[in-house]
Symmetry: C2
């Protein structure tokens, strides 16, 4: 509680960033929040870097690279054998770098689960002790060309999808999606979670890998484009993407595998999980964005990612730096028995979909998502329309039927976000804030302004 310094409790007025207000509320302070946005004046004049690079031209090049990328699913592998630099004591996680001490409940839960899955520990307590000991290296998935939904843990033995951007040759990686509810990525680590992960390693992975040998590369950009015409936005809704993928995989699975019980189990597993395709739409987005990173002078965002504590950005022209602010709280629809009070702050690398111009940026084509927060389809149209205000251009391959087949907004320009005060809209799942529980809902939120003001300051020095 704040002390009544002036004889009455303090009522701080918070202008702007809600996260500051939340920090005060967390300390029991009664805050009046005012939705203040910085004025446009003073921001619009950043047209060139100090070295004279035309920022708009650099951003046009970033936009060209993102939208000309063609991500193909080319195969699968085991993380430690396939991802360059991966090693036997590494766990990759979602979001920007973070130490065990700062990790949120679901991130810790997922790490405990991964340690049990790897056989590094035999009880959750032992796993937590190991994780705190410094004997495990933690690193963002993004440091390894990878992405992970929610906690986003990739451990050495986990199978991964390999996505190649055919236009630029770069690779991206992601694990297989486990399904809904009590799953590792939402911080659950019970015996059934470990058993399922082992099945995914020993049966699902080799079966899918053999089917992919039969199908050859699968064009993920084409699948995402079609799914966006079928009510998906490729982040919180992947029913069409999963269905279209299954159409391609089914005959190949049948031909590649003699044991029909295995084929039926694999088909049923994928059919039972409409988010199976998320773990392909995410690395597809990552593969499209990486060639746009490192363009001198570009203010285009190439990574948005959350670790459940912090939200981090990377910007094309600003090297490998992360621009970090506290992660926001998603508002959404909760499973029976859970409420907003159970929600962990925003977590996961899945905001890579918004960064690549779909997910929340394509929500106009997925009005069912708007219902998560009691919104109407008109709100979904408005949400996508707003994103054109903060992006460099449109995606030629990803279109929104109801917006007259207009290309989705893509290429977030840090300058435009700061200038307009319009924040990127992100769709997300919601994890319970405690380790070991799992998913409790799904919802929406915006990226925190703090990351963008920091990145903008860095752009001024560029």
């Amino acid at each position: 509680m704040s002390k009544p310094l002036f004889g009455v409790p303090l009522k701080p007025v918070n202008l702007g960033l809600a996260t500051f207000a939340q920090s005060l509320r967390d300390q029991g302070v009664n805050v009046i929040a005012v939705d203040w946005r910085p004025p446009a004046e003073g921001y619009a004049d950043l047209t060139h870097t100090r070295s004279g690079i035309d920022i708009d031209a650099a951003n046009a090049e970033a936009h060209r690279r993102i939208t000309s990328g063609r991500p193909l699913l080319v195969g699968m592998g085991i993380a430690r054998e396939t991802i360059p630099g991966f090693h036997a004591r590494l766990l990759c996680h979602a979001g920007p770098p973070i130490a065990w001490e700062q990790m949120c409940g679901p991130m810790r839960g997922a790490i405990v689960g991964a340690a049990l899955y790897e056989g590094w520990a035999s009880t959750p307590a032992e796993a937590a002790t190991l994780a705190a000991s410094g004997e495990i290296d933690f690193a963002p998935c993004h440091h390894y060309h990878a992405v992970g939904p929610m906690a986003g843990i990739i451990s050495p033995s986990m199978p991964i999808f390999v996505v190649r951007n055919e236009t630029y040759g770069n690779l991206a990686y992601c694990t297989q999606n486990e399904g809904l509810g009590k799953v590792l990525r939402y911080g659950a680590y019970g015996p059934e979670i470990i058993t399922r992960l082992k099945w995914m390693e020993k049966e699902l992975y080799p079966t899918l890998a053999r089917a992919l040998d039969k199908t050859g590369p699968i064009d993920l950009r084409a699948l995402i484009a079609q799914a966006l015409h079928m009510g998906d936005e490729g982040h919180n809704r992947n029913r069409a993407g999963t269905s279209l993928l299954l159409r391609i995989l089914s005959p190949a699975l049948v031909e590649a595998i003699d044991d029909k019980a295995i084929v039926a189990r694999v088909l049923r597993f994928i059919d039972s999980n409409d988010h199976f395709f998320l773990n392909l739409s995410m690395p597809a987005a990552k593969a499209m964005l990486e060639p746009a990173h490192g363009i001198p002078g570009s203010s285009v965002v190439t990574v948005m990612a959350r670790n459940g504590t912090d939200f981090g950005l990377r910007v094309s022209g600003l090297g490998d730096r992360w621009f970090i602010a506290p992660a926001g709280e998603p508002v959404g629809l909760f499973f029976p028995g859970y409420s907003q009070a159970d929600a962990n702050p925003d977590i996961g690398d899945s905001a890579i979909t918004e960064t690549a111009g779909f997910g929340g940026f394509a929500i106009a084509g997925a009005p069912a998502i708007a219902q998560f927060v009691g919104g109407a389809p008109a709100d979904a149209l408005q949400a996508t329309r707003e994103m054109y205000e903060i992006t460099v251009g449109e995606h030629a391959a990803f279109t929104v039927p109801i917006l007259n087949f207009r290309g989705t907004p893509v290429g977030i320009d840090v300058r435009k976000v700061v200038e307009t005060g319009i924040l990127p809209r992100i769709d997300t799942g919601i994890a319970h804030k405690e380790a070991g529980i799992g998913q409790v809902g799904a919802g929406l939120l915006t990226a925190p302004m703090g990351c963008f003001t920091l990145a903008f300051a860095a752009l001024r020095e560029m």
Copy 2:
């Protein structure tokens, strides 16, 4: 050419029905068409039958029966063994009754193909002679609780899906969809068409039938409802419906059939044809509508069907009579090398989907269809909104996300059509007008007013 009776060529002015103008144009007459609609006065007063039945109450009951129906795919069979009353020399066709002499090119082509498929003839010429001889009985599919897309031919040996309306117990039937392009239902009858039909009888049908034994009844209403949220309208676009059906069938196919080459062929055949689900959405619609037929005093349309020459209606309270007018000409998108001049008049029982409240009535959720005629998504929204003007109510199970998840318009009231001049909008494939060629495009049109004015006249006598 019209004779210059008055020294100059006649220029008839046609008020209203475009089909009359077209008849004159077909004779080389230069017609000025005026889009005249009958005035509302004089129609709105038909509230009770002569025997005193409240027509609105009867229509509410029809609406209740249509929307409470729950069509399930319960199995398959061979037409002559499964459809009550079918016999060894019967061919069912789309639309209202028609004799060989009046049949259009694609209908004749499909009958020639069916005669070859049944082994009744060994050459197309022989088949045509047989068809003209009177030795084959022709009857509408609708007279046998069945529906057929385009020419809609059902011959005795053809396999059929069996759909049961779980709420009312009635059955409906439809053949398996053959695919796109050169296919029997579009009037093609070449050797590859007959070979494919034989494969569908000898391999596809028994394989699917065994898979259905594994799956148990499949809820088609639920599949249509989901597909309507995924860019389908269940008539001209069935990509989502086909995908969702494949998700259910795939594991059952794998478990039911030992020969994996067969399973892979069946999966690939269905995957290659986004309209596979049409031959399930149609009998689902038929199964939902039949219990609403025969309600004394009801002015609700229970059948709209075209045979390529005539468009026919049936009305709930008007018994087994068909109300017939010349079939219209669909306007649409043509395959390369074809144009409007190649188009056959409107054909097929598939307007049963519009009659049941989807297809063209749900086009707001399938904006890709509007593109067929160069239309924008706004046109699709408007098309669905108009249909609320001529229907009794909304469908609780079929909703349109972009219209705030409003139920689709369902239960066409003949009185409202005549009163407003608004005609039911129908999506359709386009057949070449000559026998033996096949599909040349896809498009849109409205039902002809003539059927409704005839039915309205009958309602006044009721």
